[in-house]
Structure formats: structure tokens, C-alpha cells
Symmetry: D2
């Protein structure tokens, strides 16, 4: 009964199978191998869009490298105050951008509120050289509260940002969970909604460690710059085929969407069981995360019974399901209460 | 017949076996898992020394993170002019150290010459605030020319450096090849010779992507700082067990040493065959690399026959063997000439 | 009638006299001149404390260099949300610290509220590598609202910070105005209250461009590091005597304190006149700044009549007096309303 | 008899006069004052070219800020191995550029040799992501050996650089000495020869501390970026009129050229006197610097007699004249030998 994080989960067996398949004979180093080409082509198909993709093994790197393309050292990055880039990446955005500033905004359920963004943008006076102006907007989908941005919501925020001259980044560490919940086409959630650069997660979806950074449309002009930044950050693995192969494994037959649907279903089952016991759920369950307000007794019952999870800064218990969560784990956890 | 690089090689089957073994059930994220603990303990045993170890997936990151501990932004890093950190890491040392300067020195076969180091250190006037003083020495073993530093050679350079107040780093991307060639104990090549921080390579030895950064003795006091730097550089993988498990696989039963002995043997066989044909070998073959002066015809014969290798800046052909190189590949390559 | 800023004021005639006096014959470059030594000695006397002082020509540099000593790239700097370092220095703290994060707190009249600081410090979990921990506290005295921290208030905040392992910085761009208002000894406001590094302003006090960075007590151990950082930031002027001479001019016979008393008196006179006209004053006038809530008509009357001032983000008019403000300017301004 | 440096000299009286003239009444802060506008207009006239100019108080800042416009963090800056940016600025180029690498080349008398530059550019393979490619060329005129680049020499180097996609910077800390020696128009030495960004020195020419950074032609598009970088580096002085006024003082009636001619004449007189005594002069005296090979006895004779100068790394004595050097100082120094 591990609900600590989807990063605590093992990799899906198909990922290991693909790694084994990729492990035959020599391959060109540093990204010129066939698996990398295949993974990029599969992403082009998936997003139905002109794009360039690059593969790294960590989500923090994926986010920070992407942001460093969109925001100069003298600019700022607007994000939600609970965003992973703001709370959980130890200043990686500042490091990779050479000192850009995060500009956290508020909003329910981890979503940046449109009016709050509008106000922030209106306050900005580019001609005032003394203050840091925002230069990029970063949207997390799923949010840190496990909620989705619909295509309309993303479009609305992205348009505001673009009108003000900002680039638009999406932290899609759990985008596939949003795809599964909204039954939306990937393009509608991202490039067609105005996203310039997407950090797309595969690790939480079932990989060992694989993330894609995707430059949509004309943003692909920055690809060479991206590769240079990736190299000097130590994120261009010499045996890159083993990162790309994981992506291939998860994209084949849309396996990752199937896995995300399962994780989402498990979260909904958990939510329903908790609600039945009169436990308050803080955020709509639109992905694979349940935030429950547990009493101290309930917390102990769960932990003593062997359920792992984190206490969240807002006072709730965060319960994360994943591709490997079993129906029986949900039932057992609920039975502990 | 792939002699392009040891990073073009696949991973050893035992590495995949260990990955599969590590892929059962949940594990704590970000390095508090059992495989990480086991890998660190195995390194303590191997080096017979008090140490802390951290695991990353790229050699560039391993080097640059290590150097950022030893050299402040206002200092310099002495290295050989052909060092990987100087020629092949796209400014990663500068990035991670926030602008420290590389100070390349000359020396035969990729080894820093003691007199040249001595002179560089003597020229330094710490009281002259206008010039960048060296603060760290980085030694590559194997060198970029495929040669070893003996324990005595490392000790000699490290003592000079320490006397001048510098920290000592070793880039051990191919240290196991040096261990195999010199039949030396790991400690004698590193901590006992004065190395403070070691970047120890497993990727070229047979992993998919795994490197250890080892802080010896009192340098372990910098471990928390190292972890903070690693995290914000995106080099603390959430599913870290899959990096550590590769290290475990290669250290078990000293598998990596066996593989390095094989790679070294293959290089010697290749060298001997080339010498028999009257081809000049530029550097002593003390590891798994052969630098051969080929005519244009010979180059074409090899390439047309299917042998992959790089032309090196010094005009030679660099031929790299690895754990998977077969006797028949050597014979076939030699037969092409 | 210029109330735009104390940086809009000219330099005091004594400053020019001292520059002329310093302008005779050659002097050693880069800070080894007699005026620099004299200025440092005068500061030692003034603060009755063991210290090292260094002189730069800009307040932004003075703050950012000081903070870079106290906060590593992986840490955070706690300050008031209205602090100059947060609002008006275009990311200089991030630049000089290589990406440390500003952590703005709230509090009335620009003062950090003790409870808010306490809570921020208690929330910090140093063992959680993923979040940026605060490593320095920066206090502005005067605050951005023109108010003082008493020695007791500074001591209280500094003790909390030190208990939590933070270094303490004071932005004293207008410290002399606080000295004048509180009739407090400089040491009581700074080193004896727990300040480690002080950015002490002379430009707003009557210089052309001169600021001191003062390292108190054992912090002087960082002096060499400071000088190296200052040099590579281009803030070690070759003809440094001309910066130090300005400091000498203002410290002689406590001229700067006399000038600050005058500026403060002018502010009080302005405040009194505005209050008589029923105009609301937003913050206690404890230095040389008056924040008045003016109607649109009143704003126009003043501006049309030739009074220069800035509209402040809080909706008030900020009216700043300085050493050169004349009684008649205050009367004329008040007469416009 | 001070030949230590032209930065050891006092400021010219006209500079103080202009400072006094600028010191009347209030002026807008941070560069929107009349003196700044006047100084920029005078530079436009002088260079007969469309340009934007910004003023800082230090040559190190002027160089490093300029280079940060031309070279990204992932690129390299080609310069002469003796260049001030390479030897005397404590890593300022690395700091301001966020880690770009200096690429020092050789050449007689401090001049980059055209063939050496050509070879360096030809070696560069932009498609090889692992190595740092040069992105800017920095030329020092005067060189560190006190020699000039003629317009033809600069044009030749700049064309090579531009053909390879590099931006061209000139460190003109002593450009006015080159103007005086070559009797060349400023434009012919800079913008018309292919210089994109010029760091133009006034401090050594007779100011207290004033340097201009000039963006020629379409490079002016980077002016806003430059101002943002300048601000966050603490190099936008609040009372900027006092920097600009120094430039105005020196440009009026071409005073600085007259002063440079004097300094050059003094250097030639010193050279002639030394040659008469059979002393070897290492570099052509094309500005205000004489590099003399003195015996230990001669060195003592000069120093004991009260002449100040530095021993240079090449073993010579560097003797620098300046605007205030008197004929009698030269005679007295020569008489000591």
C-alpha cells in the first residue's frame, strides 16, 4: 500500500522489455541513435504538430532546461505558488536560467487564477529597468493539487501571457493523467492551447527515468541552443538510447494512457471510499492524487496498517496512486479506517 | 567492429538482470532506497576508506558537480589541456562552478607534467586580487590518451596541489581500466594518493548510465552541500534505485574489473596487430584505447570494411575497445588492412 | 521643489572639496591609497567595533555583494516584500549570489514582523533537500516606508535568524537618517544588534556615489573573498581614492549626521503641513520620507506647481527630502495645495 | 616620478570643474539626466555613426558587460593571451556572461595574429555540441604591450570573426592613445573596422572613474538588454550625471586627445632616453607605455631614486606615462640611471 508518490513505483515491465531490446550491439552515443529518432517521431505523431523533442532522465532538469530557453537571467517566471518548480526543485530554475526570478501566484486547486495573472501582467512596466519583468509563464498540468487545466483554461492563460510577450511552458510531469481524465487530444492540451515548450513526464507514468522536452512549432528554432544547454548541464547521456527506449515502450499502443487511466481509476476508487467514510477531500480528483483531511487517529490507522503517504503542507494526507496500484491495495487501505 | 567509443557499447547483461531485480514493488524516492545504500557500502569496501558516495547518470555531471565543491566561482581548475572537462563537456565546469576558469596544462600522453604544474603553482600570487588563482587540480585516470597515472604520479601531483592549498579531483571515467592495467588497489590510485573527490565511471565499464561521486575522508563534510547542488542540477533522479542497481551489478564479484581486463586485452591485441603491420601507435596502450597513425588508405580500408572509429584532433585514429568487444572483431579489423 | 528621491540631489560642497583635495598627485590604485585607509579607520571609530570596510560606488552593488557572502547559491534570503533588494535592483541579489532566492515577508511600515519571521523559520526543514532553505536575513533601516528599526527590534529579528543558522545583513542606504531620528549609536543599530554585514549608504546622504560594505567582527574573515567578488564584479575602481574621499568628507565632524538631521526635519515639516491640511500620512515619518494620500486634484496642484515626486505602488505620493532641501521648498509645496 | 599606471594619476582639473558645474540642483536619477544625454550625443558626433552609449565607472565592468551581450553562456570569447580581460579582471567575463570561456591566442606585441585567429576559427565545428564554440572576438587597442591595431588590422580580424558568426568587441581602455598615435578617425578604428561593441576608456585618459560602452549601428537593438544587465550588476549609478559629466569634460574641445598626445610624447621621450643609454625596449612605443629590459642595478637605481613602476610578467619594467607626467619627471628618471 504505497501512496507516497508515483516515483516510488517500479517501472512497467514493457519498459524493461524495451530496454533489453535496445541493449543489442553498439549504438551511436549522445542522441543520434535509432531509439531517440523513433521516440521523437512518435511524439510528432502523438501531438499532430511540428516539433523537436529531446530526452533527459529527470523532471527537474526537464523543467529547468525548458524554462532557461524562455526566460533570460534578467526576467521572471510566473507560476503557481505550489508549483513543483517553486517548491520542490531546490532552485533549479534559478540555476539553469542564471538567476531568473520565480513569481508565484495564487489560485484554487493549484491552478493559476486568470484574474490574478491578468493583474500581475498589468502591473508590469517594461520600461522600469529596476524591476524584474515576467518573461515566461509556467503551467503545471496536472496541478500540484492533482487537478487539470482544460484546453480552454490553458488557452486563456497562454493568450494573456503571449499578449504580454511571455513564453509559455507547461510542466507536464503528469500530463498523461490529465489526458486520461479529460479524454482530450494531447495537442489540444498543449501546442494548440499556446504552449511553446512542454516538459513531458514519463517517469511517473511508468518509466525508470525518462522525460521529454518538446519545442513546438517555431520554438524548434531554439533546438540547437537547447542541446548545448543540455550538454553542459550533464543531461545528454552518452548511452541515450536507454532513455529514449523507455519513451518508446510507453508510447507504443498508447500504453502510458492505459496506465494513466488505471492510476486515475484507482484514485477515484480511493476517493469514493474515503468519502463514504465521511472524510473530506480537499481537491477534485482529476488525476492520480487524492488529498484527504484525516484525523490524527485515521492517519495512525493507515500508517500502522502499512500504508505509506506524505502529510502535505496544507494539512492533508496526499495519497498518490500509480500504474501498479492494485484494487486490493485500495480496499485494504480503506479497510484500515 | 565498433571502436567509436565505449559509450557506444550496450550494457552488460548483469546490469539488466539487476535492474529487473530492482524493479519489484515500491522504493523510497530520491536516494533513500536500499540499492543506493548497498552501492555506497560496496564502494566503502572497495576503497577501504571512510567515504560518502552519490550516484548520477552522467559523467559530465559527475565531474562538474565534484569540481563545484572544490573550486569557488572566483578560482581556477588546473587540468590537462586534453582533459574531457576542457574539451568535451561544453563548459559544464564553468556552469556548475558559476564561472570558475579552467587552466589547461601540457604534458605527454595526457598526463600533467609535474614540472609544468609546479611552475603554474609558483606563478600564482594569491595576494594579487586581479588574477584568478587555481583552487583545484583535476587529474584524469585514464588520461584522454588512454594512459595511466601510477599511484606515485598521482601522489606527487596531489601533494604539490595540496601544499598550494588546492583541492584534488580525479576524473575516473575509465579508472577501472587503470586498476586493471596497473593491478593496483583502488585506494592507492585515489584517496591514499591524495584525491579528495573522485568521479568514478560505470557507464563506459558496462552500465546503461551510472556514475558515482565519492567524497573521501573529511571531504564527506561537504556531502549535504553536494546533495543540494545535485538536486538543483536535476541530477537526483526520483527512481534512483535504477542508477544504484547498475553500480551494484558491476561491483558484485568485481565484475567491472573483469570486464575492464577484457577491454584492455582487446586493446593490446589490436595494438599488437597494428604494430605488426608497421603502423605507428602514438601512446602507450595502458587501458582500452589505441591511437594509431593511419594513412588515408588505411583509414578508408577500415571504414569501408565496417569499422567505426573517430579521427582524433592529433591526426590519429582513436580505436576504443569495450567489455563487449570480441576477439573476432579485432581480427576482422586487422584483416581489413 | 524636488521630492523625487534623495538620489536626485546634488552632492554636498564638502564632498567636492574633498575630491579636489584628493586630486593631487599620484595614488596607488585599487584601494591601497591613503583615503581608503582613512575612511576605513573612521568607520572603525564610528562603530566602536572591529571591522573591515570596502567601498563601492553603487548601493545595488553594496547590497548584492554583501548578500553573496552570506547566502550560497542553493539558499534563500529573507527580506521584506517591499525591500529595495526585492523590488528595485533588477535581480542583483540573484546575479551576485548565483541564483539564491529572495523570500519576501510581510509587515507594517516596511518592517519584517517578528512572528512572520519566526513562522518562516519554523517551517524550514533543512533535511528536505528539495526546498530552498533560508540562509540570510536582510533588514532595511530605514525601511522602504521610511521607518526605523530600533536596536531592540533589530536584535530580536537577528537573534531569531542566528538561532536558525542565518547570517544577518542590513541594507543601510538611509541608516544615517535612522541614526538621526533614534539618536542611537551606530553600533547599537548594527553590530551590537547582531548585524554581520552592513551596506552603508553615503550617496543619498550627500555623496556623488559612495557606499561602504562593512564586515563586523569575525565576519572580517570573509574580507579576501569579498575583495575577489568585488573585483570580478567590476566594483573595485582603479582610482578608488575618489570613492573613499567622499566617505571621508561626510564622516568628518559627523557632517552626514547633521545633513540627515536636516533632511529629517524637512520631512517632519512637510508632514506637519500636510496633516494640517487634513491629508492622510500612511507611515510614521521617522526619516526623510513622507508618504501622503493625495487626491487627484492635489497631485495635479503639486505637479503643476513644479513639485517632483513619485506615485508609490500603494497609491500614495512619496515625498523625499534630502540634505539640500530648503525650508522655502517645503513652504512653497504646501502653499500649492 | 610615478610610472606605475595611468590609473595612479589624478583627474584632470577640467574634470573637477565639470563635476562642480554638474553639481547644481536636482537631476533625474539613473541616466535620464542632461549630462548623460550630452555625453551620448558627443560620442555620436565623435564616431560619426549611429550608436547608443551607456556610462559606467569601471573598465572591468565596461568590458564584461559588453562581452555578455556578444557571447552566450555556452560560447567562448577569443582574446589575446595577455588581454586585460584574461589576466587582470578576476574572471569578470565569466561572471557577467554566466560562464562563457575565454580562448586566449598568441601574437607579437599583444596583437592577435591573423593566422592564429584563422586557424582557431577553422578548427571550430559548430555541429559538435560537446565543445565550446567561439562566439565573440575581443581586441584590445592599445594592446597590453602598448601597441596599436591599425584600422586595416582591426578590419582584417573583424572580418574573419564576422564570417565565422562572431561578434566583435574592442577593449578601448586606451583607445585615445591609439587615436593620437595613428592620427586616425575614431570611426576608422572601430565601427567602420567592424567593431560591434566598444568599451571606451576615460579613466586612464584623465577622469576619476568613467567609461562608455558603445553599441554601434544595429547593435543598438541590444541597448535595453544592456541597461537591464547594467542595472542588475550595480553599474547604473543613481547620480549618473557625475559619471557622464566626466566624459563631457574630456570630450569638450577634444581635451582627451590633447592629453593623450602629451602622454604619448612623454612615453616617446622616455623611450628615446632609455635607448640612448643602451637599454633594450621590448615593444614599439605606440602609446603611453614603455617596456624596458632593465638590469637589477638599473631597477634599483630607479626605485631608490623614487620612480614607481611595475615589473612585468615578461621580465621587463613597465613604465606608464599619463596626462599629468611632466618633462622633468622623465629627465629625472633618466638621470637616475
Amino acid at each position: 500500500m504505497n501512496f507516497a508518490s508515483d516515483t516510488a513505483a517500479p517501472a512497467h515491465p514493457k519498459v524493461l522489455e524495451q530496454l533489453a531490446a535496445a541493449n543489442s550491439g553498439p549504438a551511436v552515443s549522445y542522441g543520434a541513435d535509432g531509439w531517440t529518432l523513433q521516440a521523437e517521431a512518435m511524439l510528432s505523431d502523438l501531438f499532430e504538430f511540428n516539433l523537436r523533442a529531446s530526452f533527459v532522465s529527470s523532471g527537474t532538469a526537464s523543467n529547468a532546461l525548458a524554462l532557461s530557453l524562455l526566460c533570460p537571467p534578467t526576467g521572471g517566471i510566473i507560476c503557481h505558488e505550489q508549483a513543483h518548480i517553486n517548491c520542490d526543485e531546490r532552485g533549479a530554475p534559478e540555476f539553469f536560467s542564471h538567476g531568473a526570478r520565480l513569481m508565484p501566484l495564487t489560485g484554487l486547486h493549484g491552478r493559476i487564477k486568470a484574474q490574478v495573472l491578468q493583474q500581475k501582467l498589468q502591473e508590469t512596466d517594461e520600461s522600469f529597468v529596476h524591476a524584474t519583468p515576467p518573461k515566461a509563464l509556467s503551467i503545471s498540468n496536472l496541478t500540484e493539487s492533482g487537478c487539470c487545466y482544460t484546453p480552454e483554461q490553458t488557452t486563456s492563460l497562454a493568450q494573456m501571457a503571449k499578449t504580454a510577450g511571455l513564453g509559455v511552458h507547461m510542466d507536464g510531469a503528469r500530463l498523461v493523467n490529465a489526458m486520461a481524465f479529460l479524454k482530450a487530444r494531447p495537442a489540444d492540451l498543449t501546442c494548440k492551447a499556446g504552449v511553446d515548450v512542454l516538459s513531458l513526464g514519463f517517469t511517473k507514468a511508468g518509466a525508470m527515468g525518462a522525460e521529454a522536452v518538446i519545442l513546438f512549432g517555431s520554438n524548434a528554432d531554439m533546438f540547437d541552443d537547447f542541446e548545448a544547454r543540455r550538454k553542459r548541464a550533464g543531461h545528454m547521456p552518452p548511452k541515450q538510447r536507454f532513455v529514449a527506449a523507455q519513451v518508446v515502450a510507453l508510447l507504443q499502443n498508447n500504453l502510458w494512457l492505459e496506465l494513466a487511466e488505471h492510476a486515475n481509476t484507482m484514485a477515484q476508487k480511493l476517493r469514493d471510499g474515503l468519502l463514504e467514510q465521511g472524510i473530506c477531500i480537499l481537491h477534485p480528483v482529476e488525476g492520480n492524487e487524492v488529498f484527504a483531511r484525516l484525523s490524527a487517529d485515521q492517519t495512525s490507522q493507515l500508517r500502522d496498517g502499512g500504508a505509506a503517504f506524505y502529510s502535505w503542507p496544507d494539512g492533508s494526507a496526499r495519497l498518490v496512486t500509480n500504474w501498479s496500484t492494485k484494487h486490493s491495495e485500495i480496499s485494504s487501505a480503506l479497510a484500515l479506517l
